[in-house]
C-alpha cells in the first residue's frame, strides 16, 4: 500500500505541476541561484558591485555624462522591471538615452552567456529584493 502511495506522489504530482504550466514552487531552484551568483560575480560585479550595491551617486551622470551602474539590491530599481525586460537588457545591453556618450554603458552579454545563464543571473538578483519588491516584480512579469 505504502509503495503505491509513493509511486503516486512520484509520478502524479509532477504531472499535475507540468499540466498546470508552472513549477510546483515559484522559488528559483538553489542550483540556478548559485550559478547566477557565480556568473554575477564573474561578469557583473566589477561595475554593479560585489554586493550588487551599484556605483556611488548612481542617480546622477558621472564626469563623462553617463549614468553610472545602478545597484541591483533592494535600494535600486531592478525589481521594477519584468523578467523579459531584465533579460533583454542583459542580452542586448543598454545605453541611457540622455548619456553624453554613444557607447552601450551596460554591455550586451548575448555572445558571452547562454539564455539559461542569463536567466540564472536574474534568479540570483531576485534573492536581493524584499518580499514586497519580489511581489511587485512578479506582477510586472505577468
Amino acid at each position: 500500500m505504502n509503495k503505491w502511495i509513493g509511486l503516486l506522489i512520484l509520478f502524479v504530482v509532477p504531472a499535475i505541476a507540468i499540466a498546470s504550466g508552472r513549477p510546483a514552487s515559484t522559488d528559483p531552484a538553489p542550483a540556478n541561484v548559485a550559478q547566477g551568483r557565480q556568473i554575477y560575480q564573474q561578469y557583473c560585479a566589477a561595475c554593479h558591485g560585489r554586493q550588487a550595491e551599484g556605483a556611488a551617486n548612481w542617480k546622477k551622470p558621472d564626469e563623462k555624462g553617463e549614468m553610472p551602474p545602478p545597484p541591483h539590491d533592494e535600494t535600486g530599481h531592478t525589481w521594477r522591471h519584468s523578467d523579459a525586460m531584465l533579460f533583454k537588457m542583459i542580452a542586448e545591453g543598454w545605453r541611457h538615452p540622455f548619456n553624453k556618450t554613444d557607447r552601450l554603458t551596460m554591455p550586451a552579454f548575448e555572445d558571452s552567456l547562454t539564455e539559461q545563464e542569463i536567466q540564472s543571473v536574474i534568479e540570483y538578483l531576485k534573492t536581493l529584493w524584499t518580499d514586497e519588491q519580489k511581489e511587485y516584480q512578479a506582477t510586472e512579469s505577468q
Partner: protein, 284 residues
C-alpha cells in the same frame, strides 16, 4: 475767496466720490469676470474640440461654439484642477477632494474612479500616451498611484519626486526601459522618470514652480512647461530649456489635433501657436 476754495474742494470731492461709485463696481465686475474665465486646465476631445476647465465650469469649444459640460456631483470643497485625455480619447477630470472621474460622452455623465484610491486628494493626474487603461494619480504625501484597468484598481507605485507635484504628464518619447516617460512639474522645476518609476531626476536646470506641462505627440522630444506664468520649451526631452514668447501669462497648455499647440493666458483667452511662432486667438 475762502468760500470759493471751499466750494471748489466740495465739488472736487463730490466728483471723486461719484467717479469711485461708478468705476469701482465696473472694475470689480471686470476682475470677477476675468477670474471666472481663467483657465485651470486644457485638453481636447476625440472630435478635436478643446476641453477647457475654467473657474466657472467645464466647456467644450469647437466649431466656433462653446458648450458647457456639467461637472460631476461632488462634496463641497472639491476643486477640479486637472484634465487629461486617455489614449482612447476618454476625458478625465481630477482634483483635490474630487479624486479621478471619467466622462462618458455617450451618456453625458461622469464615472467616479475612486473606489481603490486611499483618499480623494488627487493634486495631479496623467494618462498613458498609448495604453488606454493606464492612468496615473498623484496624492501628495500618499505618493503616486497607477491603474492599468481604467481606474478600477489603483496601486501605489512610487513616492514621487522629492518636491510636491503640481502638473503631471506621460509621454511616449523613445528611449525608455518600459513604455514611455513621466514628467512631473514640481515646486523645484521639471522632474523626469521612465515609466518604470526607476527614479526621478531633474529634467534640465529649469527652476521654479511648474504649473502646467505638455508635449508634442507628433515630436515627443518637444516638451513645454509653464514656470510662474512663463512658457518654456525643450526640444531634447527636458535636457535643456528655452523661454518662449507667449501672448500673456500662461495658465494652461495642450496639444490639439485641430489647433496644434494651444495656450490659455490670464484672463481666459486661448491662443494657438503657428508654424512660424505666431499666436492666433482661438475664438469660442
Amino acid at each position: 475767496m475762502n468760500a470759493i476754495v471751499f466750494r471748489l474742494k466740495s465739488a472736487l470731492l463730490r466728483f471723486f466720490l461719484i467717479t469711485l461709485a461708478v468705476v469701482l463696481p465696473t472694475l470689480a465686475h471686470a476682475q470677477s469676470t476675468g477670474d471666472s474665465q481663467s483657465v485651470k486646465a486644457l485638453t481636447s476631445n476625440p472630435s478635436g474640440a478643446l476641453v477647457v476647465l475654467r473657474a466657472s465650469g467645464l466647456f467644450a469649444i469647437g466649431g466656433g461654439t462653446s458648450t458647457e459640460i456639467p461637472l460631476p456631483t461632488s462634496d463641497a470643497g472639491a476643486q477640479p484642477t486637472s484634465l487629461a485625455k486617455g489614449a482612447d480619447g476618454s476625458i478625465y477630470l481630477a482634483g483635490p477632494g474630487l479624486g479621478v472621474w471619467r466622462y462618458n460622452s455617450a451618456t453625458n455623465s461622469w464615472q467616479a474612479l475612486n473606489d481603490t484610491l486611499p483618499d480623494l486628494g488627487v493634486t495631479a493626474m496623467a494618462t498613458h500616451a498609448t495604453q488606454a487603461g493606464t492612468l496615473y494619480a498623484y496624492l501628495g504625501e500618499d505618493g503616486m498611484f497607477r491603474s492599468r484597468d481604467g481606474g478600477a484598481e489603483w496601486v501605489k507605485v512610487d513616492g514621487g519626486p522629492r518636491e510636491p507635484v503640481q502638473a503631471f504628464l506621460h509621454s511616449d518619447m523613445p528611449g525608455s526601459m518600459e513604455s514611455g516617460w513621466l514628467f512631473a512639474g514640481t515646486t523645484r522645476g521639471v522632474a523626469r522618470s521612465m515609466d518604470c518609476f526607476c527614479f526621478w531626476g531633474d529634467a534640465g536646470d529649469l527652476r521654479g514652480t511648474v504649473s502646467a506641462i505638455s508635449y508634442d505627440p507628433a515630436a515627443p522630444e518637444n516638451v513645454y512647461a509653464v514656470v510662474e506664468g512663463q512658457l518654456h520649451h525643450s526640444n531634447d526631452g527636458g535636457e535643456t530649456w528655452a523661454n518662449v514668447k507667449a501672448p500673456g501669462t500662461v495658465t494652461a497648455l495642450t496639444f490639439s489635433p485641430v489647433h496644434g499647440f494651444v495656450t490659455a493666458v490670464e484672463g481666459g483667452n486661448l491662443f494657438a501657436h503657428g508654424d512660424v511662432g505666431e499666436w492666433t486667438p482661438v475664438y469660442e
